[in-house]
Amino acid sequence: MLRIAIDKIDSLFDAIAEKQTLYIPVDREDGAAEYKKYESGMKMSNSLNTLRSAKDFFFPQTENLVEFKMEGKQIEVKDIREESEDFVIFGVRACDARSFSILDKVYLVDPVDSFYKNRRDHGVVVSMACTRPAETCFCSAFGIDPTAPEGDVSCWNDGSYIYFEANTEKGKAFVDSISSLLEDGDASSLENVKAETKRILSLLPLSNLSTDSFGGDKLNEYFNSEKWAELSESCIGCGTCTFVCPTCQCYDIKDFNTGNGIKRFRCWDSCMYSDFTKMAHGNPRISQLERFRQRFMHKLVYFPANNNGEFGCVGCGRCLSKCPISMNIVKVMKALEVK
């Protein structure tokens, strides 16, 4: 298997960054990790995951869609789309790598979202297998193996080397482009690393979380559950869970008058916000109960109903550690679950 010694990883990053934009997870001062554009000298973070998910690369928090010039009764439409540059995201964890395929099921189905597709076409996802899962991890519940992450290229770290395996054409081309820096080497040590990670996974508090009682066919059963009132009573209606979530994909489209034209942009939106469904004549989701229910029903029931049973959650655990009142999808699943 192709590999590179960990102490030479900087030279690899330098080589990649020479050709295209490279993003790696780096540690912030407050201890949290975030993706940063690589510049020589940056150290890759060792933490399990970034605070914000990797969806930003393909579905940024805000992006301009189109511009209008208004003159009298005339409107001029300006298509401001540009071809995205090639870029590489290094060190994506298995959960985030899976989240892209979930976003694809929304944005790449007909009619294709050209803004998203453009970035997707130009981005190479290099994933990294997990070795130190946290107590908030529950990706296994959604059939994700953190020791075998998806992505264009998968990587493993055995403590002294990083191993590469291309999964797609795009990934192959990427590995070829850096092959002069890689060496062929024995990968047998990885088996131990994977086995140890799997042992840890089985010890995690959420390792027994099951999705068996959820799915597209449980619509009315869960929608009408009495548990929602209790579960949602302390929800403060902020958008934290949706904004840190790698699979939340809802957006709003808004116009901004710059004084010399109108910029139409889209930005992340949250079903937890009171104005999400508000219309001129009223709001079909009048209280936080309905909004709270929408989010979890979407992940656990509606999304699987429309996508052959695949759930809209990847178990990354971000909402578990970030929710201001610590209400999250695990608590919801455990409360609703039909034993």
Partner: protein, 281 residues
């Protein structure tokens, strides 16, 4: 980046504005052709489909296309004044350009399930707007459909949308029965007075009719109950829905009822389909 994106709109020109009622205007929209002339339609559609209209800087919203696809000259939108964007639209003059994108959503199954059937249209207030497209489509393809009955009610005589077209065209057509009603007695009105649901029950339409219904949610609810009492089944009744929309293509995530998106899987639903969905609209 040549690919067309559904979020990037076309320009339409408002070539005629008709005042229907004190708070409803009908706007005629034409395309701007490659040679700069104004005429024709921005795109083709089927009856029941919708379009996103917008004034940049004011807002964008989904409106059902009121004109029939058989009209090759222009598209029409009947719009009630009720919010920020519609207020703006009501204040504009002929010649104003607007942005338009679509068509979105499914349509009434005029070429499949409705073909050859006797049709009963039930509309309340501005609810006539989406049905007008179907009614005119049926009138223009008269041979394909059986008897047509239209029950239309509004608050008052002045609030009947498209009153002139109803009187001059629909009522004079053969094989079309039009029943109008208004909520309260009014001078100059010698027709029926009463709410739509009750009127439908009084009329006692024959059970072989397929029903298309649109109006305020409360009217739909009571009319549906009335129809069921008369013996109609849910599979015979179609309606068209509306929720807040932003993208129009099932991606922005807000117009869902259960796992169905009104903009993509709707807006036209048969009542048995709606029955399977949670009651959140």
């Amino acid at each position: 980046m040549n690919a067309n994106d559904t979020l990037i709109p076309h320009i339409g020109v408002v070539t005629d504005i008709r005042i229907d009622t004190p708070d409803v205007k009908t706007f005629r929209v034409n395309a701007i052709n490659a040679d700069g002339t104004v005429g024709g339609k921005v795109f083709e559609h089927m009856p029941g489909q919708c379009a996103m209209l917008s004034i940049p800087g004011v807002g964008e919203a989904m409106f059902s296309i009121t004109s029939s696809p058989t009209n090759k000259e222009f598209m029409e939108f009947s719009i009630k004044k009720c919010g920020c964007l519609t207020n703006w639209l009501h204040a504009m003059d002929v010649g104003q350009q607007i942005t338009i994108r679509g068509p979105y959503g499914n349509a009434f199954p005029v070429e499949t399930e409705l073909k050859g059937k006797d049709l009963l249209f039930i509309a309340g207030g501005i609810g006539l707007a989406p049905l007008r497209s179907v009614i005119n489509y049926v009138r223009d393809n008269r041979a394909n459909y059986g008897d047509v009955q239209i029950v239309y009610g509004s608050r008052s005589m002045d609030d009947l949308v498209d009153y002139k077209e109803i009187i001059d065209e629909w009522m004079t057509d053969d094989g079309i029965e039009v029943n109008l009603t208004i909520d309260r007695e009014q001078e100059g009105w010698d027709g029926h007075v009463g709410f739509v649901p009750n009127y439908v029950k009084e009329l006692n339409p024959s059970l072989n009719k397929t029903v298309l219904i649109c109006g305020p949610p409360i009217m739909i609810k009571f009319t549906l109950n009335g129809l069921k009492e008369l013996g109609f089944t849910e599979t015979q009744v179609y309606t068209t829905m509306e929720l807040r929309m932003k993208c129009g293509v099932g991606k922005c995530g807000r117009c869902n009822i259960g796992n169905k998106y009104v903009c993509k899987d709707g807006p036209v639903f048969r009542f048995d389909e709606l029955g399977e969905l949670p009651d959140e609209y």
